[in-house]
């Protein structure tokens, strides 16, 4: 019997606390599989955000630090500068990275910090119960945009990958999705590429992953994946925005 789909060594046995159908867990698995394949688990330090994935430090089977809200890139910078020979990644939500952590991610990218950021964009503040995020789509209803997001009041869904690609320190910036098997495969390869660029000492790398929040979107897990494939990808086009070899 050969194992087709197993359980990555880079994940602990702990069951995820995520809601039913939430793709945070799936993205965890992809990152872990990449760590396994690159055999870097023992020299990797991950940084968990404040967000639903705050407990990522219990799930990834490598050294982990839990950062203040939005500060994961700064924390990762401190770690990487102290251990340039280690692999450092941050795992951040869209509120964490695109709102309160804007300055930290922009300057980590501009400095070309040798870290990899997994940016999980679910267009909402999941952990706090579904408030609007800067990534929330126009017209999308959230607990703080009850009539749907209005560009007059709150501006536009912010495109972090596009914005960070402008910075000279960023060498690999891509947006992927996990709403079906084909995209899941792409997502994993992209994440692997990002870690490889870090290992090669090229510069800052980030993979934005479009993700679901069934509970706060008020959808079934299956419909949520559909919504990602149909609505989100039309505002947040998938692809590689920057690649400096």
């Amino acid at each position: 019997m050969e194992l087709v789909a197993g359980y990555p060594e880079s994940l602990t046995e702990k069951e995820f606390h995520y809601c039913s159908g939430c793709t945070h867990g799936l993205i965890h698995r992809l990152v872990a599989e990449v760590m396994d394949e690159l055999e870097i688990r023992e020299k990797t330090i991950g940084v968990a955000p404040v967000g639903c994935s705050v407990l990522a430090y219990e799930y990834f089977n490598c050294d982990m630090q839990e950062a203040a809200h939005g500060s994961a890139p700064a924390v990762a910078t401190g770690i990487k500068r102290a251990h340039p020979d280690k692999v450092v990644f941050t795992y951040q939500g869209d509120g964490d990275l695109a709102s309160i952590g804007t300055a930290e991610i922009v300057h980590a990218a501009n400095r070309g910090e040798l870290i990899t950021t997994i940016f999980v964009n679910n267009a909402i503040y999941g952990m706090t119960g579904g408030q609007m995020a800067p990534t929330t789509l126009l017209e999308q209803k959230t607990t703080t945009s009850p009539e749907g997001r209005s560009n007059i009041l709150s501006g536009y869904p912010i495109k972090m990958s596009e914005m960070l690609s402008v910075l000279d320190g960023a060498v690999y910036i891509a947006r992927v999705s996990v709403h079906n098997p084909a995209n899941i495969r792409k997502a994993k390869n992209t994440i692997k590429k990002a870690f490889e660029y870090q290992l090669a000492g090229k510069g800052f790398t980030m993979v934005e992953v479009l993700s679901t929040c069934p509970i706060n979107w008020g959808m079934t897990a299956v419909d949520a994946l559909k919504w990602v494939g149909e609505e989100m990808t039309s505002i947040y086009p998938l692809g590689i925005f920057k690649e400096v070899e």
Binding site: I45, V47, D63, Q65, E66, A67, A68, S71, G78
Partner: protein, 359 residues
Amino acid sequence: MEKTLMKGNEAIAEAAVRAGCRYFFGYPITPQNALPEYMSHRLPEVGGVFLQAESEVAAINMVYGAAGAGARVLTSSSSPGISLKMEGISYIAGAELPCVIVNIMRAGPGLGGIQPSQSDYFQATKGGGHGDYHMTVLAPSSVQEAVDLTMEAFEIADYYRNPVMILGDGIIGQMMEPVVFDKKINPDRLKKKEWATDGAKNRKPNIINSLLLDTEKLEEHNLKLKAKYDEMKERDVRVELYKMEDAEFAIVAYGSTARISTNAVDMAREKGIKVGLIRPITLFPFPEKVIQSTLVNIKAYLTVEMSLGQMIEDVKLSVGGKRPVHFYGRTGGMIPTAEAILEKIEKITENDHLERGEK
């Protein structure tokens, strides 16, 4: 040991390097700029890293990361910048990370001014951040003492796995005095931090974290922290007594205000007034017992601060209502003169005599 003439800011930086600190993360602000500027050329010489962060918030979180990764790390700022570090400091205390934070205080509130002040005492000693936490707060009153306390600060931080603050002001930071550096620590010789996140090779993963969703666990954690603070109160209290042997009145002051107060003490003595000075060197833990031990001879206390009166609360808590505690303070960057302090002392002593006279 060769003497050199150095600014307080630069001396603190050099002391940190000699204490084995190899990482500095900070953001410019007057009147402490000479410190990061010194680090920017000094750290590369010893294979360390000086990184100017995008903000104080980023700087303190870089400190969190480096400290969590096992490094000896320093950050410095001044009042408004320190306020921005409050969340980060609370995290560092909660996650039990050792680091040293320098606050060269300037006048507030708000943007205020850039001249010397001591109005961040509450913030430093009571916990300006959220939650029940404390850090050792060291208040040097000379450049040499700034050097010695800085080197000690890293040891205290590592021992307790807790942040330590060096609380100075524009005078301490800007003035030049002769200093000698006697010690020198090689960071590679320091005891390995088994809890640090430096790669989970041949061991279980290490986790740096301050979140505990289980209230019972979080209470346990808080009690564990409290035990550390209680131990500090037992072991680490530091205070200097000046001419207290035969004193009937005591000035309580720290840092540069204490320096000025020694003048006042001498001037008062010349006038035959028996005054002494109690100079807390650790503001947390506060020298409560030492002050209590002086109650036998001291008729009244005078707290002198460059603030509207902050340390005076700890003095009053120590005295416990058994003696009057008076206050003299200047704010906004104005600096108390020895003459003014003397005048205040003379008033206090006169009143004291009157009162006794009446009895």
